[in-house]
């Protein structure tokens, strides 16, 4: 349902795309025909006809992205979405730049200017805001102005390899950027993207989708469009200038070039071999400031807001380092534009102990010379040293020292970036990697948190279903959730033995009415002898959990609709099997002062949750908070089982008190299946018994055959 006003400028949804063969790898023509039937509601299906939904994939590469928030017709963000497909799954990220708005004087529309001016003498001075056009998809991967940068798009969910039908779900976070380098997670959003024919100019019109963007409260907050542009993720230019007598670092001598290396990164790279006669200002050896000045003087005319151009200057020697440097990082940066240029020294004599190239002039040793140029360019792209392997961001000294007689330097050079650096080059926010944006040393994988590498794979045949025990609860009450994992396939599957919140496999999050997300996972780490079990076809595991607090505080701390998401993960052959389901619960406001006071106490006492999880008599603050809840007629039914469990359990020298425990229970007591089972056992052991079932008792944990 759209919440957009009728006067919204957002265009209606275009027609659905007819399926095409390219959309469904491996699909036969017959299946494609059936898929046509499946998406055409006007066609009559024949009895017994099997309809195969269309399988589609989200194409890897760079997509042109546009996001228009609702209710602000002059606000529009353009940018790119980078979709990477790799052996571990998918990773996607993006960047958004605000489209400029300019003000134009209102044109004089009256055929009688004099008359109009008489009526409104300021007519010629009136201004009309104009939203400029966005980037043309025909121009390839867009380069947008640094000053217009607004958001990093951290994609959190996207279709795994293939999806069914004409739509797919995209989940993402928007991190707001404020110069020089401040990031704030502003919103967590989802969009149900619908494939449709892209407007003119897109290289592959069928790889285009649009969808309404919704916030955590399921309210439409904008509209997103995305159209595929390129198999590359980013693009740049590398310009190489040299002094007379210095070699151009263009290749390794064993087949690696700028283009081949950057192709592997996913950057579309143009190499501009420029001047070879840059004058030496003060002899053979250059200072950082001299290299910076030479870059500004000799670099081709460039606007870093329309081109990502990195400058490589090859000189004979460098004052401040033997081989190479990313000099453009601050002190020597006379134009205050960081990470534009690097320098490399062709006339350094390679040290003894550097394998087969010891004693050579650096510029004549193509492999280490070219490698150093790539290393320095990595710094210009925001990367730091990385000794996790012998890739480009490791230092040459370390690689040379690691040479062996069998594999001497430089044959032990690894001609690639370490996977962490590859991910950074592909998914860092633009300001971290593009020249002339944030200073060297400012890039971070944590701020903003860059897109997760998607190691997750859905397991065909398994379904996770969560069901709140109560859909509506009073403020302050714990929320009990039933969890069911069912094998509806025809093969036995190895699955986690327990879906309890005490299991390492289970975690989740709660999104409150304002869109704030709070996570939860076990606070007790159990070592299980047999963490997995075989789930046969038709079988299911049922479990339940009670939620109060997570790492970020109370999970249900305000009234309103809360969205609960439960996820189950476990490792299968290096991949992460993943199942998830979500449900909503309604938290009602405090009904009176007594309820408000009790809710206040349990919501602000972290130990109340620990009493729920581990029991005992030692958490006095938590016990006091739960007692306050028990004193509230509204909350008592929701906390009685928790206190009963504590009283019915031995704690140090205190014996279980079955009588006091049982006295707390009545017909209104709310308890989950797990709680029911545990109380029945505890009270039985203590000489008591569980009274008749409460009004909201869940099924106990057990392996059952699904109906």
């Amino acid at each position: 349902m759209s919440h957009l006003p009728e006067s919204s400028k957002i265009p209606p949804m275009p027609d659905l795309l007819p399926p095409s063969a390219e959309d469904g790898p491996g699909l036969s023509n017959a299946n494609i025909s059936n898929a046509n039937l499946a998406i055409n509601p006007n066609l009559q299906l024949q009895p017994g006809q099997i309809v195969f939904p269309q399988l589609r994939s989200l194409r890897a590469g760079c997509w042109l992205l546009n996001y228009k928030p609702s209710g602000a017709p002059l606000v529009s963000y353009d940018g790119t979405l980078r979709v990477e497909s790799h052996s571990e799954g998918r990773t996607a990220s993006g960047d958004l730049y605000q489209r400029p708005v300019i003000f134009l004087p209102l044109p004089i529309t009256s055929p009688i200017p004099l008359l109009e001016n008489k009526l409104n003498p300021n007519a010629n001075l009136a201004l009309r805001p104009i939203l400029l056009a966005g980037p043309s998809p025909a121009a390839g991967i867009p380069i947008l102005s640094r000053s217009r940068y607004r958001y990093y798009v951290r994609v959190t969910t996207l279709p795994e390899y293939f999806y069914l039908g004409n739509s797919f779900s995209l989940g993402f976070q928007l991190y707001r950027f404020t110069a020089p380098n401040s990031w704030v997670l502003e919103s967590t959003l989802t969009a149900q993207m619908v494939r449709m024919t892209g407007p003119a100019g897109f290289p592959s019109p069928s790889d285009y989708a649009e969808g309404d963007v919704k916030n955590a409260a399921n309210v439409v907050v904008g509209r997103l469009t995305m159209g595929w542009l390129s198999t590359y993720l980013r693009r740049c230019t590398v310009e190489i200038d040299t002094v007379n007598g210095s070699e151009r670092p263009t290749n390794s001598g064993i087949g690696h070039t700028w283009t081949s290396l950057m192709d592997a990164v996913g950057w579309q790279t143009t190499v501009h071999l420029s001047d070879t006669n840059v004058a030496e200002p003060s002899g053979n050896s250059w200072s950082n400031a001299e290299m910076h000045a030479a870059m500004l003087a000799r670099r081709a005319v460039v606007n870093l807001d329309s081109e990502w151009r990195y400058h490589v200057l090859a000189v004979k020697n460098i004052d401040s380092t033997p081989r190479g440097i990313m000099y453009d990082n601050g002190g020597t940066d006379s134009n205050n534009v960081p990470r534009e240029g690097v320098g490399i020294a062709s006339h350094w004599t390679i040290s003894a102990g550097w394998g087969t190239v010891s004693g050579q002039r650096f510029g004549t040793a193509a492999a280490p010379y070219f490698r150093t140029a790539v290393h320095e360019l990595g710094h210009a792209m925001g990367l730091y040293h990385n000794s996790a392997d012998f890739g480009f961001m490791c230092t040459s000294d370390v690689i040379a020292a690691a040479g062996t007689p069998a594999t001497p330097f430089p044959s032990n050079i690894q001609w690639s970036f370490h996977p962490d650096n590859l991910k950074q080059l592909r998914h860092y926010p633009d300001p971290f990697v593009r020249p002339g944006s944030v200073a060297f040393g400012s890039a971070s994988t944590a701020t903003p948190s860059i897109s997760p590498t998607d190691l997750e794979a859905d397991v065909l045949g398994l379904d996770l279903k969560i069901t709140p025990l109560l859909g509506e609860l009073p403020l302050g009450a714990p929320v009990r959730i039933g969890v069911t994992l069912r094998n509806h396939g025809d093969q036995p599957l190895l699955v986690p033995a327990s879906l309890s919140l005490k299991s390492e496999s289970v975690s989740g999050s709660v999104t409150d009415p304002s869109g704030n997300v709070r996570t939860f996972r076990t606070i007790i780490h159990c070592i299980e002898d047999s963490p997995f079990k075989v789930l046969n076809p038709g079988e299911q595991i049922e479990e339940s959990m009670t939620l109060m607090r997570g790492a970020e505080g109370a999970l249900f701390g305000v009234s309103g609709i809360h969205q609960v998401q439960v996820e189950v993960h476990w490792e299968v052959d290096g991949m992460l099997a993943h199942l998830a389901d979500s449900a909503s619960v309604m938290v009602t406001a405090a009904v009176d002062a007594n309820h408000a006071e009790a809710a206040h106490k349990v919501l602000t006492t972290p130990d109340a949750h620990l009493v729920l999880a581990i029991g005992g008599d030692h958490l006095t603050d938590g016990i006091a908070a739960i007692q306050a809840a028990l004193d509230s007629p509204v909350l008592k039914p929701h906390f009685a089982a928790i206190e009963t469990k504590r009283l019915a359990s031995r704690f140090m020298k205190r014996k279980p008190d079955a009588k006091a425990a049982t006295a707390l229970l009545d017909y209104d007591t709310v308890m989950s299946g797990s709680e029911h089972d545990k109380l029945e056992r505890l009270l039985g052991d203590a000489g008591g018994s569980l009274p008749k079932a409460g009004k909201a008792k869940a099924k106990p944990t057990r392996l059952t055959s699904a109906k």
Partner: protein, 99 residues
Amino acid sequence: MELHEAQLSGNWHKNSQEQCAAGYAAHLHLQSNGLYVGSSEPAGTFTWWDQGTWALQGPGKLAISTANDEVVTYTYSLSDGTLTFTDPAGCRFSYRRAP
């Protein structure tokens, strides 16, 4: 010189809180082969001393390659297990020898 290099080799933990020293590694491992590895706190944050080379340049002078590959000469002193540096900007900070 070799004696001094032997004295400097090993693990060092920064024990200075000066703001000007924030960009230097929290932990420094000076290897006897002239290489070093620095690490920051919290892990993953940027440090100018992340990985590279170190070499004595003369009495009280130590050249260390930095995060952008520039080799910077620092003055240093070693006393009672404390290694004190002064960088070219005049920032003074120290490390304690660690096991």
